[in-house]
Symmetry: C2
């Protein structure tokens, strides 16, 4: 469907663009049981860099912002870096409630069984076959491998809390 | 904490940057009960443009990708637009299971009551006071107004499914 027809079908006004032009879709927040484990996953598997940490001692939780940017693009100065990350798009916020990692029975809900809601994060990659091989080498857990199910062009991996992360490539897979 | 210290604290290797440099944090997916209502909210309140719709008739669901970009930046050609959006960052994917809007009792779970998990999306704006006034004028539902609670520099609004959307500005509020 053409872009014009999509806008018309969903009754989206083009004038809203002016009113919201300086808005930024800054971040998605998920709660994680073990902060260290989650940061290592998002960093070492998916290339997110932890750029800001704030500890709320009274309320016993910590937040960490992670962003996929070259290290050279990230401001070194602490105050400048906080302001910078809040103006970026594609940020991941991890919220860690202190002590949850010490309870073996504790776990968060990934939204994909009842009660459902949130579905997944998605990382797009230039070559989904190649990157899935990399994930296999790294010992990443898969929810769905490429060859499984009907959609053989996407995979789902799982983060340490079992949140699903879709892996796809923008272009069709080569035959 | 300095960026160097943060990386050290969380044992993040700088070499991962090379392996993952072409990855893109493409989208966050949430399920919505009423597709039309959700698209109008994300478009008219927050400036997201619906750029791609795919209907899966057999499995009875539809996905729509929405992205905050100027209309002039969005490819007109359908195939080019799909490929383009899958390479962008800051995309929102809405998943709509056909017919859910016809059941008054049906609702999704926003992750902020038990069982918890997903927390919120966040939109950053240049002037949080001014934009919260705009949301009031538009009749948007607030989870937390600026003046409520201890954090008087952030607000939370709610989308039609009661998912929370944090509203903040990168800079400190003027006194």
């Amino acid at each position: 469907m053409s872009l014009h027809d999509l806008l018309h079908k969903f009754q989206v006004s083009e004038k809203v663009e002016a009113e919201t032009k300086d808005y930024v879709f800054n971040h998605t927040m998920i709660r994680v049981k073990d902060l260290q484990q989650s940061i290592q996953f998002y960093a070492n598997v998916l290339g997110f860099i932890p750029v800001y940490e704030q500890v709320f001692e009274d309320a016993a939780f910590t937040i960490v912002y992670m962003v996929r940017r070259a290290l050279t693009e990230i401001p070194v100065d602490d105050a400048a870096r906080k302001e910078w990350v809040l103006g970026q798009s594609g940020v991941l916020e991890l919220t860690y409630n202190h002590g949850t990692e010490q309870d073996p029975a504790f776990h968060y809900h990934n939204g994909n069984s009842d009660p459902r809601g949130f579905g997944h994060l998605c990382i797009s990659v230039p070559d989904v076959v190649k990157e899935c091989q990399r994930f296999e080498r790294l010992g990443v857990t898969f929810q769905k491998k490429l060859a499984e199910g009907r959609m053989n062009y996407i995979a789902f991996i799982k983060d340490p809390d079992d949140y699903w992360i879709e892996i796809l490539q923008p272009t069709p897979l080569s035959a």
